[in-house]
């Protein structure tokens, strides 16, 4: 009998990955943002990272990181992309999730 890997289950966790599929072709607008310097464990390597409140075209809002965003201002257009979020310890699962990038 095969043992299923833990990743198969974590991938289906709604709060983590539910977003990834549902907003594939949606654009959004930056409502507000911050650059995080005082990060929780697991995110230290990314400091400073941009975290934004994004209003999506479909009427929903999300809080997500925005990548490659040196000149970010409120009102900019963004689109979703799949990115690495963090790693569980040295040998743990690599968590992927939705981040956003500026639309050129």
């Amino acid at each position: 009998m095969h043992r299923k890997s833990g990743a198969l289950y974590t991938r289906k966790k709604k709060e983590n990955y539910g977003l990834a599929g549902s907003i594939k072709n949606v654009h959004g607008i930056i409502e507000s943002f911050t650059a995080v310097y005082n990060a929780p464990s697991g995110f230290e390597k990314h400091v400073p990272y941009i975290l934004a409140l994004i209003a999506l075209d479909n009427g929903e809002k999300v809080t997500a990181q925005v990548v490659d965003s040196k000149n970010i201002v409120i009102g900019m257009k963004v689109e979703p992309c799949l990115r690495k979020m963090y790693v569980d310890g040295d040998e743990g699962i690599i968590h992927y999730g939705t981040k956003f990038r500026l639309v050129k």
Binding site: E15, T34, V36, P48, L51, I74, G97, K99
Partner: protein, 372 residues
């Protein structure tokens, strides 16, 4: 209905390396029972407010610890994040109003200085939404998003709120129970490290250890404690909102505070104009600005002006920023400070407001002085 408060005590907040959570409960418990002049057997109900003991101290049955240390029966733990203390006070008042208890006690206690600082961000992550946390958000970062939005929408020339933090440290200078009871000038605050842009490190309250307690009695016992009465609990309310900022309609208004204030004013038949002084949740400066707007002290967008003109009315203790933020103890500490300052300032009505996390819970209690 007025509920007499017969003792209100504090321990100094800070990094209390020589006290464990058991010690804190014992010290504040016996100090408060002594002040009230009663024995632990006379307490009909004890509410212990705490936010993180299960994670930070590996102890969740603080009510059993209270029985061990103080011998108080019939106690329960109340956990609502930063607002725990304020919620516990309302619960104690409810138990008296229902007639179930004659004398009720609230102990707020927190012991977090053994937790490393970036683990603390992990710990406090249960006060924000899980998808926010998954994206690397913290309570600070969510308030930073709110701050930028507020400046963007209502900014009217304001670039920062450094003056507010400086004013609080000035207020705290005479408060012997505050962790940081010294002055810090605006320049130093403005040049400190960035926590989450635009919020600086010295603008954020820091988590610390602490304990505070109050004892209340019913009307029938008022005569017995005549000389002991410190003030009166007049009414309180708790309201909730979404955990995630993304699910709220507006992030520059705390819906929970609006609802709680409405309810509290209704119960006490008072309004914002009657309140002489207040202790407000100021984990970051913007929380205080938004709170005074939501509680009806200033119109939307005028909060900054109001807090600038009323630094001698708001957070006389120094607030969470200068007192230190001992999560579960903070709500009780605010109540103790309101009661003490009503006496000291010869004022009539005072208000204490606490949020949990970024405003998913808001608790407001209103107190009156001895003659209220």
């Amino acid at each position: 209905m007025k509920i007499p408060i017969i003792a209100a005590e504090l321990l100094k907040f800070g990094e209390l390396w020589n006290l464990g959570i058991n010690d804190l409960i014992r010290e504040i418990g016996s100090k408060t029972l002594n002040a009230a002049g009663i024995s632990s057997k006379e307490i009909d109900a004890l509410y212990i407010s705490n936010a993180f003991s299960a994670k930070a101290n590996n102890k969740s049955l603080l009510n059993s610890i209270a029985f061990e240390e103080l011998g108080i029966n019939n106690s329960v733990c109340i956990s609502s994040g930063d607002a725990s203390g304020a919620v516990a006070i309302r619960e104690a008042a409810n138990s008296i109003m229902s007639g179930k208890s004659k004398i009720a006690m609230v102990i707020g206690v927190e012991k977090v200085s053994d937790v490393k600082s970036n683990d603390m961000a992990l710990l406090s992550s249960d006060m924000i939404g899980s998808s926010e946390y998954f994206s690397g958000a913290t309570v600070q970062s969510q308030f930073a998003i709110i701050t930028r939005k507020y400046f963007n929408d209502f900014g009217i020339g304001a670039k920062n709120l450094f003056f507010l933090t400086a004013a609080k440290h000035r207020n705290a200078a005479s408060n012997e129970f505050a962790q940081y009871n010294f002055e810090i000038d605006e320049e130093k605050i403005g040049s400190s490290q960035i926590a989450a842009d635009p919020i600086r490190m010295l603008e954020c309250a820091s988590y610390c250890d602490g304990a505070a307690a109050i004892v209340m009695c019913n009307e029938g016992n008022e005569k017995r404690f005549k000389g002991k009465i410190q003030g009166y609990f007049l009414g309180g309310s708790v309201a909730n909102d979404q955990l995630e900022l993304a699910k709220r309609g507006s992030i520059t208004t705390m819906e929970a505070t609006v609802k709680a204030a409405k309810e509290a004013y209704k119960i006490t038949r008072l309004n914002a104009g009657n309140i002489d002084l207040m202790e407000i949740y100021d984990f970051v400066p913007i929380a205080e600005v938004i709170a005074v707007e939501d509680m009806g002290f200033a119109k939307k967008g005028r909060g900054i002006k109001f807090v600038k003109e009323n630094t001698k009315k708001i957070n006389l203790s120094g607030g969470l920023k200068a007192c230190g933020h001992a999560l579960g103890a903070t709500g009780v500490r605010q109540a103790v400070d309101v009661i003490k300052n009503l006496e000291g300032k010869k004022a009539r009505y005072g208000l204490a407001q606490a949020l949990a996390g970024t405003g998913s819970v808001s608790a407001i209690n209103i107190f009156g002085n001895k003659n209220a």
